[in-house]
């Protein structure tokens, strides 16, 4: 059978070059016209703990979902073998390092005790000897096509050919893994070369020996296990961006005109700031586009304060963080609220609470993004479901912030942040930069918080430096001077809160704040309406597609804005579906299914079915489909997903 879509996994210890393998493979597939996505799972550790990357490769279209069992698995070490051996099935190609065949489970010191106990139990149940060799035998007996490479042997051949210093040989392990996958899926040397060139942009001398090493592995795999017949890639994009979600947002910010970004390092937000900093010069080949000031602050309290300060001067300013850092920002957020400051907080959710699972994904911070920060003030909260949305929403967020003069929280998560995806090169010409209402020539009597502007409740802005004005976190009068007068208080409170009503009137609900897939679907014809948000989008869309093929009239309502919430549209849709006997299911990465709580709060309609996952691992297509089928069959109301190590 020829596949048009394949699922892959590669694994190895942190710090051993797995990211290189992943990047090389992603680019190699992309360059050959495949849609590709790769999600990386790793511990909060610099070196030694288990890490793995999961891919989906599609020959016909851009993809974003993941699934299992994997068609190809290629592992660097014993821990990966023990950890993932049950994720392949008959006919899968399973590549491992023959040199560690004798390694027993108990010698894998880096494995967490809880997992070791589980694997031990499982091997006992299966009657498998607890060594790499034992596991491989077991797989072979189940019809998995196993290929045992001698990593040492391959590296020795590399060494004798290119005289790589012994100490550096280990760095080529990544090429072995990339090559193994290429071999198993029939990717050629030229494609791999594209991948290595992308990776070693300024160290071209590394390309050739890497390709050489990879091809050794590829041939060996093909020799031992044959290859899997994957349809040739047929995407005709001309050029494509291969980026992580972090990078997509950074590019979006550059387009948006964000020229000041403050941050304090935190996983998984930090890479966005690093990427911005790398391109801080906006060096468009000689042409001067200005530059971006990227400031590493002493903490997140300072990060938001500095971003607000910058915004007051008229710069487009943002900060990016994750849960713990966001908590530290909320006092500043509240200041931005009362002072009507357009500032963007890009919030990458990770597993909580507290330090939680810092390198794992979640959608646990929705309620905090909506309600943290004391007192009442308007904010806009929007979220992106994939790389394309993330990039565009970075522009939208900056626009909304300035249009309504308020803080905007742009919600993303670790899944998106670290996932590498192939997308079309965006065209800024199709985007808008809306800077809102400005006072053209502010006079000496300029009132920053003017109450009688034609644009009320929006007061025309002027930058610090362009007029004299006052800001204060205290309730204030039109000039920004402290006021405790009850009437002034009411006017200012109402002015601020009305901006949210204004945004609610101006931003389209349907298609922008919430998007229904398939587009034209009527409530009466929907049997199962899935509510989701953020990075569940790709996998849910895929599941909807499959369910529809199975004859289930499923649809996906992708919630994008949580404030202002598209209440009328969602109400009508959900109400309609329910009235016609359809099922409404939330699919989310949180224990409580937080978006469904927001729906309930805004519409008074209960979301009765929930599929949730809170292991910090992404939702896979196969488990989601199973859950939805069970719900459709009336077997259950709440499914907790758990696939993935």
């Amino acid at each position: 059978m020829v596949l048009s879509e394949a699922y892959l996994v590669i694994g190895g210890p942190q710090g051993s070059g797995l990211e290189t393998s992943a990047q090389v493979l992603t680019v190699a597939f992309a360059s050959r016209g495949y849609g590709v996505v790769a999600n990386r799972e790793y511990h909060s550790n610099i070196m030694g703990r288990h890490s793995y990357v999961v891919f989906t490769v599609n020959s016909r279209r851009l993809v974003g979902h993941l699934s299992a069992p994997f068609h190809v698995a290629a592992f660097m070490d014993a821990e990966s073998v023990f950890t993932h051996f049950e994720e392949v099935s008959k006919g899968s190609i399973f590549v491992y390092d023959r040199d560690v065949e004798a390694t027993p489970l108990e010698k894998v010191v880096s494995m967490e005790p809880a997992r070791r106990a589980r694997v031990e139990r499982r091997l006992r149940e299966l009657g498998v000897e607890p060594t790499v060799g034992g596991v491989v035998e077991h797989l072979r007996s189940r019809g998995v096509r196993v290929a045992g490479l001698s990593f040492r042997g391959i590296l020795e051949r590399l060494q004798s050919r290119y005289q790589v210093p012994r100490g550096r040989l280990r760095r080529f392990t990544s090429a072995i893994v990339a090559g193994a996958v290429a071999g198993a899926l029939g990717l050629d040397a030229a494609a791999l070369e594209e991948g290595f060139r992308y990776r070693f942009r300024r160290r071209e001398h590394l390309v050739e020996p890497n390709v050489y090493t990879a091809m050794l592995a590829a041939e060996e795999v093909r020799g031992q296990a044959g290859s899997i017949d994957l349809e040739p890639g047929s995407l005709e994009l001309g050029e494509a961006l291969v980026v992580t979600g972090n990078e997509a947002v950074a590019i979006g910010k550059v387009i948006a005109g964000v020229r000041f970004q403050s941050y304090y390092p935190i996983t998984p937000a930090q890479d966005e700031s690093f990427y911005l900093e790398e391109h801080e010069l906006l060096d468009a080949g000689g042409e001067r586009l200005g530059s971006v000031v990227v400031l590493q602050t002493e903490d997140e309290l300072a990060a938001i304060a500095a971003a607000i300060g910058a915004a007051l001067t008229g710069a487009r300013a943002a900060t990016a963080t994750s849960g713990p850092g966001y908590d530290l920002m909320v006092e500043g957020l509240s200041w931005a609220g009362i002072s009507e400051v357009p500032v963007v907080v890009t919030l990458y959710q990770r597993g909580g609470p507290s330090t939680g699972m810092p390198t794992r994904g979640s959608q646990e911070d929705l309620l905090a993004s909506l309600f943290a920060g004391h007192g009442e003030f308007p904010r806009i909260v929007l979220s992106s479901g994939d790389h394309e949305e993330a990039l565009r929403d970075a522009v939208t967020a900056a626009n909304l912030a300035e249009k309504y003069q308020l803080p905007v929280i742009h919600l993303l998560d670790k899944f998106l942040a670290n996932t590498v995806k192939m997308i079309e090169l965006p065209d800024p010409a199709g985007m808008r930069v809306e800077r809102g209402v400005w006072e053209e020539e502010p006079g000496p009597d300029y009132r920053r918080f003017r109450l009688d502007a034609p644009t009320h409740p929006i007061s025309p802005r002027a930058p610090l430096g362009g007029a004299v004005m006052w800001y204060t976190g205290v309730e204030h009068d039109e000039y920004g001077h402290v006021s405790e007068d009850p009437e002034m208080r009411m006017k200012m409170m109402e002015k601020r809160m009305e901006k949210l009503s204004l945004a609610d009137r101006e931003i389209p609900e349907r298609g922008e704040r919430a998007v229904l897939y398939p587009g034209g679907e009527k409530p009466s014809s929907i049997e199962m309406l899935i509510l989701g948000w953020g990075s569940v989008k790709p996998v849910v869309l895929e599941a909807v597609e499959r369910l529809r093929r199975e004859g289930v009239a499923a649809a996906y309502l992708h919630l994008r804005y949580f404030q202002p919430f598209p209440a009328r549209y969602v109400y009508a849709l959900v109400k309609g579906v329910k009235e016609h006997g359809g099922k409404v299911v939330a699919v989310e990465h949180s224990y409580r299914a937080q978006a469904s709580m927001v729906v309930e709060m805004n519409t008074g309609l209960i979301v009765p079915y929930k599929v949730v996952k809170y292991t910090g691992r992404p939702i896979y297509l196969h488990e989601l489909l199973e859950a939805l089928r069970e719900i459709h069959a009336g077997k259950t109301g709440r499914v907790v997903l758990r696939f993935g190590e």
């Binding site: 400031l295 010409a429 006052w470 976190g473």
Partner: protein, 337 residues
């Protein structure tokens, strides 16, 4: 009409322009500090310094935290940003970095800057960003009714404290020096003329400047009173041997050590004046200009990012800036295998 009412709360600038007088930097608001509060002296010194430097109100920003001291910007006719308790410095940092052409001052309480804000205080020193920090040091938390601030010495019992202070004081001058401030001085709120001169020097200094201003709080601090300071204070500049100026980087360690040693005098005799000035260290803006050529001319606040409602960044720009992330997709050309 309603807006007319409101206008009175604002701060129409004085009619006559041209050379500026201190009064030109005052808003018409009623100042709600206690009668006799040392803050009045600081306010006067600020407006005098502004006038003598001829600062342009719209190009000057006074950033404050929360506290009695935090109200200062509202009384000054120049941009005022009254921020959060402890966060004046990072707000000011964002303002200054986004538009380095502005003159940026921070005014704050001792609790604000050395208690809740101590982390930012240290960070500003490390950056040597061209901001002047003026600390209203009254040894108490004024606005919350007189608790001990981080500058009140151990064992001292001021009026509002039920028991003598159980925490030690921090030494603001030493802390500023250890953090890297390149202009460090102490002023006295009631020596308005001297303070004005210090403020002028601090503003002119290119880099992070700190002035610890001893400010009697007549309501809550009955220990560090005007009477007390009158007896204790002496001027550093009266000692002909006192030379706080670093003339070359090599001189810095020794001058700093001397300044730290000097700063430990706190008791019967308290020195004030300039403790340390190092104009040889590059300011943060200068470092940034080196890294981002053109930054000072085209800082974030002054870059044009929109053209007729569109981004100024085009697709072609993206190709050039982010070219490394672009992959040529050509399934046909080379085919598979």
């Amino acid at each position: 009409m309603e807006s007319r009412a409101v206008e009175q709360g604002g701060a129409p600038p004085p009619a006559g322009r041209g050379a500026r007088r201190p009064e030109d930097y005052r808003t018409p608001l009623w100042v709600d500090w206690c009668p006799g509060c040392g803050n009045f002296g600081i306010l006067t010194a600020l407006t005098q310094a502004f006038a003598e430097l001829g600062l342009e109100p719209r190009r000057t920003v006074v950033v404050s935290g929360i506290g009695c001291s935090g109200k200062t910007p509202h009384y000054i006719y120049a941009n005022g940003v009254h921020t959060l308790h402890g966060r004046a410095i990072p707000f000011a940092t964002g303002i200054k970095l986004a538009n380095p052409g502005l003159t940026v001052l921070v005014v704050g309480g001792d609790g604000d800057l050395l208690g809740i804000g101590a982390g930012h205080f240290v960070a500003l020193g490390r950056r040597n960003l061209d901001i002047t920090v003026i600390m209203h040091n009254n040894q108490v938390y004024g606005l919350t009714k007189g608790q001990a601030s981080p500058t009140l010495p151990y064992g001292v019992k001021t009026k509002a404290l039920p028991k003598p202070n159980i925490q030690d004081m921090v030494n603001p001058i030493a802390l500023a020096l250890a953090s890297g401030y390149t202009f460090v001085a102490r002023g006295y709120a009631l020596d308005v003329k001297g303070l004005k001169e210090l403020i002028k020097q601090a503003i002119r200094h290119r880099g992070a400047a700190f002035i610890d201003v001893l400010q009697p709080c007549v309501t809550y601090n009955d220990v560090y009173t005007v009477q007390f300071y009158r007896r204790a204070l002496y001027r550093l500049e009266d000692d002909p041997d006192w030379d706080p100026l670093v003339r070359s980087p090599e001189e810095a360690p020794e001058k700093m050590a001397r300044a730290v040693a000097k700063s430990m005098e706190w008791g019967e005799r308290i020195p004030y004046g300039v403790f340390y000035v190092d104009p040889t260290k590059p300011s943060f803006e200068e470092r940034l200009e080196k890294r981002l050529p053109g930054y000072l001319d085209q800082p974030p606040a002054l870059q044009r990012v929109e053209q007729a409602g569109k981004p100024t960044v085009t697709r072609e720009h993206l190709r050039r800036i982010f070219g490394e992330k672009i992959v040529q997709v050509n399934p046909a050309r080379r085919g598979r295998r």
